[in-house]
Symmetry: D2
Subunit: 137 residues, 4 copies
């Protein structure tokens, strides 16, 4: 399953090259991920309040075309794998018909002390949401 959000580029996100500073794409992925989770039935804010965190353990991005101030871009997230204590998402940033960037993040399932949690065992309803999202196109 995929889910997209629209972002209007902020002035603060530009750098002196006149384009969006590259680290901001990871923030866009994060925003898109939160909405993806919401879409599949997981309220990430509540999840954290209940002591389950999904910290980033790996992130990457390939930049093809630059985004610029005040442009409208679309970020799309897709869940690509869920294993014992981690999951992986892939992202695409587009502007109209152009692909600006492709990226991914991997996340661990941990508690407030950043210790791994067996999500399937202790939070089966969250696990089910992820499983369902994996199988849907």
């Amino acid at each position: 399953m995929k889910n997209s959000i629209e972002i209007k580029v902020r002035y603060a996100e530009t750098d002196q090259m006149g384009i969006v500073y590259h680290a901001n794409y990871l923030i866009w992925f994060d925003m898109c991920r939160t909405e993806f989770f919401r879409r599949i039935g997981i309220d990430y804010r509540e999840l954290e309040e209940n002591g389950v965190l999904f910290p980033v353990i790996d992130a990457g991005c390939r930049y093809m075309l630059a985004a610029k101030f005040d442009q409208d871009v679309v970020v799309t997230a897709k869940l690509v794998s869920v294993r014992g204590v981690r999951l992986k998402l892939e992202y695409e940033v587009t502007r109209g018909t152009e692909t600006l960037a492709l990226g991914h993040t991997e996340h661990a399932f941990v508690d407030k002390n950043l210790k791994p949690i067996k999500l399937r065992k202790y939070y089966p309803e969250i696990w089910d949401c992820l499983m369902k999202a994996l199988t849907l196109e």
Copy 2:
């Protein structure tokens, strides 16, 4: 009492105007504040771990000259007032002999639930550090 820190401007801090994005000055004030507190005997990290927080309740900055990528700037903090449940600091950002910006922040003394704390009563040793810093030139 005053305390200064040196900062080398990061590329990420610039915007498409080719200068440091204005909001970053508040981050520089914050860095300078942490070192100011350390200098007068208050480890702000420990303070928070012990449940005392100094959130910003007011901040301001006047921008005179722009800072640019890779320049070395100096930020100086000065404690100007401490009252019942709040304190105020003033800041100056300089580059060589030029003043780039002048600013201030005010902070409340609160606990982890953001409720006001009477610092003088419950954390007299912290209060004393602040009082001493006020009187020293």
Copy 3:
């Protein structure tokens, strides 16, 4: 005249206090300002491309209540004065019926070399947009 935008708080905007880091409010003001200008007929992106910049020369914010991750906040901008080579806006950040923060920014009218421009003389159509916005409630 006033104009409002809606913002969903990003995870990246929080700090370890569990609330939005204070410097981000200036970024929200900036976003709101861009939309305010668009609303009154000024495309700030185009303006910069034509060599007219409105850098921030003064900014301030009073923080009353904290915004938190994933909350929906509304930021409202109002133009309060336009003089020879500068203008001033005021902002309010609200969440439902609560006011979270009040702020302001002042801006100079400059060219690409950051030299002051007499907007009224050289860009009368921009000046007129500002004048009209000042008089409208």
Copy 4:
């Protein structure tokens, strides 16, 4: 050749998980890269002023241990390849004897219009600095 810089974690770099927000590592890589270039004889600020830019075309980071507010971390950069119109660096973030993160960035050689430049041909002295850095341990 390798080059390291020291960074004290800023409060602004933390998020509500109580750790450094992951996107900030890319900013640290950037800072480290600038110093690496300076060390091998390339002043990146001057380079950009002369119309040569090294935008990021790929970036990645694997996060092993979290950095926290006020901690001292060391970031080390190493140039691993230079080809026709691009170069690649690898980074390590450490705290004492612990490795917190490993990352990389790839950069294109472009002009102000983001068009590829043959560095070897048009900026042989820059090319030579890079070649020398590649061969040194």
